[in-house]
Amino acid sequence: MNGLKMDFLSSDALSTHTSMEKISMIVERVKGGNLVVIEGGLSPGEEAELIETTMREIDIENFMGIDIYTLEKDKKALFGISKKKAVGLTIIGPANIMKDVNKQSNFLSMIANLGDSGASMH
């Protein structure tokens, strides 16, 4: 079957893991061809670690790396006034599958490349 498996991970589910465990879990799933959607974002240190781990896992023929996209939301602040943005969702997938990504400030549309067919998600 030619399909795309998407894993949605809540921030609560991730908070019980160490950074290393989080990164391994993400890379393992993405390397297996899955699209991982995380509630919230990774810390800058975790992002660097994710890129580093991805580089180690790249296998020239089968796994060429990852693509990461984020959707931001307004950060809650005291008295409800804030111009700062926080990451609401992080989407990480295999680079060869995530193609034609259209990202705007509060909208992300992606066409997944599934070989002969294609799947669209918004």
Binding site: S43, G45, E47, A48, M55, M64, D67
Partner: protein, 217 residues
Amino acid sequence: MNLAKYIKSDKMQNIFRRFLNKLLGKDKKLKIGLYGHPNSGKTTLANTMTNDWIGKPLGLSSEIPHETRKVYKQEHVSVKHNGVELDFDIIDTPGIATKIDYKNFLQFGLSETEAKERAKEATKGIIEAIKWLDDVTGVILVVDATKDPLTQANITIIGNLEARKIPFVIVANKIDLPEATPERITSVFPQHTVVPISALHGENTENLYEAMIKRFH
């Protein structure tokens, strides 16, 4: 004051100065890392800088992405501006990316074996560049002004620099190209110092050197 007293007082002043320098962090050697995407012009800028200051280039640059796959270092570079001098080492790092497809190199005339070899070396170069973030004391983030600046690699680099409190200057490079829009970089990173330049033609590099003195001194 007799000579012995003078020497003693001079010695005390030196000790005091060294203590102050240590306290203010001036004793720490400045290591300025050039970071950015593959092909954003890091090596071209490193060459322009070393040519301007010590009269020789640092590394090879080319049209093919991931030309720099190892970290290059030039020690003891000095820049002067308005009487202020800045001594530092330049660290030219491989471009940071989240993916590497060897097929992209085939269009530049490389054989499949060469392209695969380059891709493997590029993955190691990216790991090395990330590791160097632990060692640099200042960063010039080179962004190609003809492309979208809001990429994961740029966001990750900036996030890490902020988290580690490493001072940095963003360079909006390639302003000599008609499609360049440096103002887009300024608008997406309004809280940071952005300097539009052409590393290739040495255009506006004076402004960059001035910004470096301000941010890194």
